[in-house]
Subunit: 277 residues, 2 copies
């Protein structure tokens, strides 16, 4: 399949929905609204929304059913980037070639913009999705991004020298900080497309492994500016790359019986692990 | 009715549910968990949970039906206090006689604790409430605390001299920063107890007015350390107090036909406006 063509068709509705839900820069409080939009547009790879849409197709649904999940996971992702960039966290001044939110605006506005984006994620999901499946997906999303998931992973990542605790601890940080949201994207996307529990359990495993493999691959790409909390720092680039490939093999084996409709999900898994930029 | 006896019976189950949902300080990441708990226990007046429970009783339900909403609004309230206290916001070092979260822990942990408490609010509500009503209440909560509500009010409150824009602007900040969450508490509590749309519209108005009146009364109590964004600063204590009393009159008139079961809600409205500490 032509992954680029698939993305070129599926991502514009995600961007249109984000545009529809993000409050306008012409309405007050304009500075807050502008800060909320700063990293959403033009945005990055939209990998998490793509995973939600591909999961919906993998279970035989139309990707459009998963659109509320796609928007929600992107809003959560952007909120987490804004807060991670803060001076008290990673203190990053630039992202994707532009100033980070606290640099372009100010620190208070960056905290508030992240806070509002988190609320908006739940608002979109609970407003646009089919009610019962939407509520379940929102509940799973809330669990994935809280203290047991994304936020807990970031807290552990900020500790002094988290890599010193060994490979299992680093993998646990990846599983929470990066993979929990991707897992929620895949499970939620499939849920909104009507998937039943057995398929969802398989897809949860797929989402989690894609997420961990993505983080390992990301660290391999960034091997020069290593921060310590990575398999690259602990084991070197080649063993880390081998682990990511092994996870990808597991993912593709898990999706073996899923047929042609799972091809976009397979393609995204390959892209997450083998991308070169 | 004996308001103290009512509270003494209704609040312990809220505290027990908070204890059940907050992750333990003995489990990792322990520092994050301790920071999440810091302002929750022993906690303050639990006014927002009480409003949710009283609203459930006002529509003829048992207050226990509203427990998930009571927990959710308290978690949101605590998250907003933690973020408001940050150095980049109000820069407060003490709250309720104890160090604020970023002082007791550190700034990064305070940002993350607030973030995780927000997620947890939605997780509790979507896990413990009856699914359809819970999803509606969660959607309303998300809208109430985002850019159009609590966060937007805080953003406007942080602007230089917000009081200069006049009484209407200050009232709009109160309505968003303070009243939106109280309104969501009242509406959500009643919703979980099975109230229908007509009652909910009346209670939304009640919740909003109680919230604005509470904020005005709060500013009257704090008249010495005035920050500019208050009716007290614009009009003086007596006219501000008169506005709060007028809002209370409206609330009590709105609840006139609501019978004996609305007595706790009336008592909380009076307490919100007339409390002396």
């Amino acid at each position: 399949m032509d992954a680029q063509a698939w993305l070129a068709e599926r991502i514009p509705p995600v961007n249109a929905a984000l545009e529809r839900w993000l409050p306008g820069e012409d309405a007050p409080p304009a500075r807050l609204h502008a800060a909320m939009r700063h990293l959403v547009f033009p945005g990055g790879k939209r990998l998490r929304p793509a995973l939600a849409l591909a999961a919906a197709e993998a279970v035989g649904g139309p990707s459009a059913a998963a659109l509320p999940m796609a928007v929600a996971v992107e809003l959560i992702h952007i909120y987490s980037l804004i807060h991670d960039d803060l001076p008290c966290m990673d203190d990053d001044v630039e992202r994707r070639g532009r100033p980070t939110v606290h640099v372009a605006f100010d620190e208070a506005t960056a905290v508030l913009a992240g806070d509002a984006l988190q609320s908006l994620a739940f608002q979109v999901l609970l407003s646009e999705a089919e009610p019962v499946a939407g509520a379940l997906a929102a509940r799973e999303l809330a669990a994935a991004v809280g203290a047991a998931g994304l936020v807990g992973g970031q807290a552990d990542d900020l500790a002094p020298d988290p890599g010193a605790a060994g490979v299992e601890h680093v993998l646990s940080i990846h599983a929470r900080k990066t993979a929990a949201l991707m897992r929620a994207a895949v499970v939620g996307g499939a849920r909104l497309a009507g998937a039943q529990d057995e398929r969802l359990a398989l897809l949860a495993d797929v989402g989690e492994k894609v997420g961990v493999a993505f983080q390992i691959a990301d660290d391999c790409l960034d091997a020069e500016d290593e921060d310590g909390c990575s398999l690259v720092a602990l084991e070197g680039v080649e063993p880390a790359r081998a682990r990511a490939e092994a996870l990808l093999d597991d993912v593709l084996a898990g999706l073996e019986g899923a047929g042609e409709s799972a091809e976009p999900l397979r393609a995204l898994a390959r892209f997450a692990v083998r991308r070169e930029v």
